[in-house]
Symmetry: C2
Subunit: 367 residues, 2 copies
């Protein structure tokens, strides 16, 4: 903090190790040793203090980039995510930040709303020679094909991946099972499903698993209507507004969204349409973002902790960076039941008279 005359104040250039060396009357290597704490039995006390004084006076801070060039270790890990809109990755990023060793700098690469060109983002990151990569939404094949990886890569939430390196996954199957059980228990048979346009593996699995678990219980009495929307409130709002008449015609009594952010859009659309949730239609999502606690009504959701995902990824990366063997990690899914789901109420309709081991649904009253 003690700086007689500002460091490089006139030049606009930051002081370099050489500047420090000159001022302290030593060589650059000595400065380096001191800076990196390798002075034990290598630098005289006298020079140590001289160097440290010069550092203070100049306000010197070693350039990690130049250091990286010299050592081959950049001190940087990249996080690559498809978007920030969905808010899921916001938590992932936080988790990574929390789990990363303090001397690592986080480089964030994220797609724009319309352009999720992860390939080129990855290629660019790779060119930067980062020390490690944590990514989601890039297939293992793409990862391999693009370039041979020279650093550990942790792949997130990519079920069915054949990525040989570290991975962190969710137990989506169990999540789907819990949700299916919940919905069927409430008497739902005709279910709409909203999923992102980008059909990433995690979304394929969420959809397929839920459909399968429902079918296992309901057999042919089940209907499963799939719609697509981007992972944003507005997009989901538009699509649900658009689809509602058709769904109503099909006696849909529950809507499941592949991501909570879509469910928010759905709630918005249904509110505007004057369709009461859950009386006329139940709504549920995946992710359990914190906002799901305060939506109107609070949203039933399959909790997949994005924070844990990021945190776990960072820990795995730390291990890999230290050369240890790293085992894949699987995080649990847990259904959070809230007020957005309730008993199914089928209206009279020629098409589909529901009949099943019901519990509470089945009233013929309108709303």
């Amino acid at each position: 903090m003690a700086r007689k005359d500002g460091p490089a104040s006139l030049t606009g250039r930051l002081p370099s190790a050489r500047d420090v060396a000159e001022r302290a009357g030593v060589s650059a290597s000595t400065v380096s040793l001191v800076v990196n704490g390798k002075y034990e039995g290598r630098v005289s006390r006298r020079n140590q203090t001289a160097v440290r004084r010069a550092i203070d006076e100049l306000g010197y801070r070693a350039d990690p980039v130049a250091r990286g060039l010299a050592t081959g270790r950049r001190g940087t890990v990249a996080v690559i995510v498809p978007d920030l809109d969905s808010h899921f990755f916001n938590y992932v990023t936080m988790g990574v930040g929390m789990g990363l060793k303090a001397d690592m700098q986080l480089l964030l690469a994220f797609g724009q709303p319309n352009d999720h060109d992860l390939q080129s983002m990855l290629s660019r990151i790779l060119a930067m020679r980062v020390d490690g990569i944590i990514c989601e939404g890039i297939s293992a094949a793409a990862l391999r094909s693009l370039s041979d990886v020279y650093c550990p890569v942790v792949v997130l939430d990519d079920p069915g991946t054949d990525w040989a390196g570290p991975t962190v996954a969710f137990d989506l199957l169990d999540g789907a099972e819990q949700l299916a059980s919940h919905l069927v228990g409430l008497g739902h048979r005709h279910i709409a499903y909203l999923t992102p346009e980008c059909d990433a593996p995690t979304f394929q699995v969420r959809r397929a698993a839920l459909r399968e678990r429902l079918a296992a219980r309901l057999g042919s009495t089940m209907k499963f209507l799939v719609g697509n929307a981007d992972t944003s409130i507005e997009a989901a709002d538009r699509v649900v507004t658009d689809r509602w008449p058709a769904w109503e015609r099909e006696n849909v009594t529950a809507l499941v969204c592949a991501a909570d952010i879509q469910a928010y859009g759905a709630l918005l659309a249904l509110a505007r349409l004057g369709v009461p949730v859950p009386e006329v239609i139940s709504v549920a999502g995946f992710d359990d973002l914190p906002f799901s606690l305060v939506t109107g009504p609070p949203l039933t959701s399959v909790a997949l902790s994005a924070h844990e995902l990021g945190y776990g990824a960072a820990r795995l990366l730390n291990q890999a960076l230290q050369g240890g063997r790293v085992d894949p990690l699987t995080l649990p899914a847990r259904l959070m039941i809230r007020q957005s789901t309730g008993p199914a109420r089928y209206l009279e309709s020629g098409t589909s008279p529901p009949r099943h081991r019901g519990n509470g649904g089945h009233q013929r009253s309108g709303v």
Copy 2:
């Protein structure tokens, strides 16, 4: 994409310009010229194609870090924000990403929930010799004192700052005016205010401006009770739960939160306490995050576009990087009125019989 034998497949090392040069039978400098498009009249057609072929075959990508060392331009801009919890900065980051030139890589530095040590984050970023910095939550004084800045720094949402460089601000005064007018118009007199522990200038201004605008209308009939909570749903939930009895005693009929995320926590707390919003207490926030559309009830909020803030900052930074003069930018605030605010209903109470030019409030009924 055409790679006969994987690039550096065996070594784990990425191909360097020298590798390319050797393969193409030219010198490294020639490779550099081609890569940077400076071949016009400097490199023979023959060598150009040879180089390009070698690049393709090897899958070469110049290391931007090494290039940065050589050129002094790192191709990197840093975004420094206090936290990611509040979700406000998530949008700021998106906005920056959208506004940044495509060849710039974004470096994100964010504080942890408990530790907002922006000083050290900044110092670390500075050491990286980034090309530009966009930051929020760091005072101009701190910015200056820490080190002389060698690169453009855009300061965000820091009202009253004396930062000489580019800034982007919100018209908070106007926002407070709109909100005060709205609340007073509904008959509110006793107002609780929730603000973050960290008393950043933007929060000081929000609070002071609102209090002032309310006082201007209400004079001594106003009560303004301030509480503190971190910018997270849970923290606000806890604090509101804790304070509610006192506020009720004081006949508080409206709660304003300095950030929407806090308002969400407040809604949660009030719902748990069984206090109807807005019948018993109105709730409003600042920021207007997208989620405020779907809370129960939808939240009245002073819209401050975080996305615009980030986008504007990126544009200003682009200008500064090109050496242009940059003027400070001020973004408008706009009150979004939704169902979380309604007429004040004062209960009978010994302490404070409200009386003012009322419109709709003033019923003596309980709820």
